[in-house]
Amino acid sequence: MNSLAVALDLLREARSRRWVLALALGTTGLLLLVAFGLELQVVDGALAASRFLGGRAFGDIRPADVALRPLFAGVAYAVFYGGVVVGVLVCADFAPAALAPGRIEQLLALPLRRAELLLGTYLGVLLLLGGGALYGGAGLTLIIFAKTGLFGWAPAGAALLAVAGFGAVYAVMLLSAVAVRSAALSGAAGGVAAVAFVVAGQRTELAPLFAAGWGRSLFLALSAPLPRLTGLADHAGRLAEGRPAELGLLGAQLGGAALFSAAVLALAVTLFDRKDF
């Protein structure tokens, strides 16, 4: 309950952050661009004509659901990776701000446990990013639905998968902020984590780049516990294109990301509990 109160306080604070406002305005701008710039003419379920900002968009006459698959897939990837990148940029300052001298003393003197404060911050950031990604994803879904009559949850699904992926990235950022109170370092840690998680997603393909022996073994061992960010993104794209989801693999990747996040958060809580302010 206290964690939820901390999360809601973080959302209140987010309203005034320039980065957050820029994100909201940027997303709204993109949605307006698509709403007013994309023309789609659907006749008997087929995409008869399409133009984006005056130029031809989706080629020959095809069934609308097939023709729009690349759009949905592109949007899914954009929402996924865009969500992670924007999340790193927008959310790097929240934990360091809460840990600022003069503020953290007041928070720690309130009737809440340190773990609740940290987990509330984590929850608040995920709610913020989830809200933003859902706004963009659901907005796009509704625009396309209004123009074509085709309804797909793909962008919204991609948004939720992006939140799951970013959850692991933000756990690392939070741990970094607890260790050293610095927004720049927290952002950098998030960037490095995101790249590492992308690499982990391609570890099988990248392993041959390392010479067989201890180097390759080390790479495989180090990347093994990391969340597979590209795997989650591919699932988002697959969902967007209407292809059947590999539920077993998706479950494993989501579970892996959740397990990694939980382990890093546990480490952050332990460190936070022992710290003096």
């Binding site: 206290n2 109160a5 306080d9 209140r12 604070e13 309203r15 005034s16 952050r17 701000a97 600022a100 001298p101 003069g102 503020r103 953290i104 003393e105 007041q106 720690l108 003197a109 309130l110 009737p111 809440l112 446990r113 022992r274 003096d276 302010f277």
Partner: protein, 304 residues
């Protein structure tokens, strides 16, 4: 009947960790302190004495290296205990975008006070910022922010108020208002722990004092008990007073042309009678060495 203690510290030590695992500075060296419930206790000491570390240790913000703390009879790490405490940190940092109403609303939620807007506004009214209740605190002066911080500390009428430099940044009128608020809190039975560099302010509010020097409580008790050197007086006479008669009455040479007399009130009046009988006219009489400044100075110098 056993006396109820609001604050109880036994053998409290704090050594901060240094670099590369080496031991850092030791801020507290075995602090023993007991503050009875309902008391107004002033914690004084020079810079670096460990006052803020002690206050932070009380609230679980800093982990003691050794010793024991009880707050309102419970563990300070227990949220239920902290719900009964109001705290104002030394360097208050409020979220710049929040309004005073939002700041108070957040604290009220964590303390589960269930206060509505009108009640929060009345709290802001008490500290004189109700007129700015919906303006972001980022644009506030230090004194205004301090008032908002004080309102959060007083929210829910806590049983224990721990205030670290509460009048920092306030103008003289603001200090008077804070004093009134604290006296009101004391009148309803709250306990006050006041840590302030403004000794005169502390003296006006608190009845008991602890002097912390180099991480140890070197003096503790009511002010009159802390003045252990005995009373002395600074007396000025109009020009032409007979020096020999004054000397015979017990006056000795003091600072800045004034004379000094050691002893209590009876000794003072007897000496003044003798001086007046010899034709001396008294122009000024002042008590010496009976304020907190003198107590602190004596404690720092290691005087008894």
């Amino acid at each position: 009947m056993e006396r109820v203690l609001a604050i109880e510290a036994e053998g409290l030590e704090k050594r901060y960790p240094g670099r590369l695992g080496r031991p850092g500075p030791q801020a507290l060296r075995g602090v023993d302190l007991r503050v009875p419930a309902g008391a107004a206790f002033g914690l004084i000491g020079p810079n670096g004495a460990g006052k803020t570390t002690f206050v932070k240790a009380l609230l679980g913000v800093v982990h003691p290296s050794a010793g024991r703390i009880r707050l309102l009879g419970g563990d300070p790490l227990d949220p239920k205990v902290r719900a009964r405490v109001g705290y104002l940190p030394e360097r208050l940092e409020l979220s710049r975008a929040w309004t005073p109403l939002e700041v108070l609303g957040s604290v009220a939620r964590f303390k589960r006070l269930g206060l509505g807007r009108a009640q929060l506004l009345s709290r802001l009214e008490e500290v004189g910022v109700a007129g700015e209740a919906t303006r972001a605190v980022g644009g506030f002066s230090k004194g205004m922010r301090q008032r908002v911080g004080l309102a959060t500390a007083l929210l829910g009428d806590p049983e224990l108020l721990v205030l670290d430099e509460p009048t920092d940044g306030l103008d003289p009128l603001g200090r008077v208002e804070v004093r009134t608020l604290l006296q009101r809190a004391l009148a309803r039975g709250a306990t006050l722990l006041l840590n302030s560099h403004l000794l005169a302010e502390t003296e006006r509010v608190c009845g008991r004092f602890g002097v912390l020097v180099a991480g140890r409580v070197v003096r503790e008790g009511p002010l009159e008990a802390l003045v252990t050197g005995g009373a002395s007086w600074r007396v000025r006479f109009a020009p032409g007073a007979p020096a020999a008669a004054l000397q015979a009455a017990g006056f000795t040479t003091g600072d800045g042309g004034a004379l000094r007399l050691a002893g209590g009130l009876a000794a003072l009046n007897a000496a003044l009678d003798a001086a007046r009988a010899a034709g001396a006219l008294v122009s000024e009489v002042a008590a010496e060495g009976q304020d907190l400044e003198a107590v602190l100075a004596a404690a720092v110098e290691g005087q008894p």
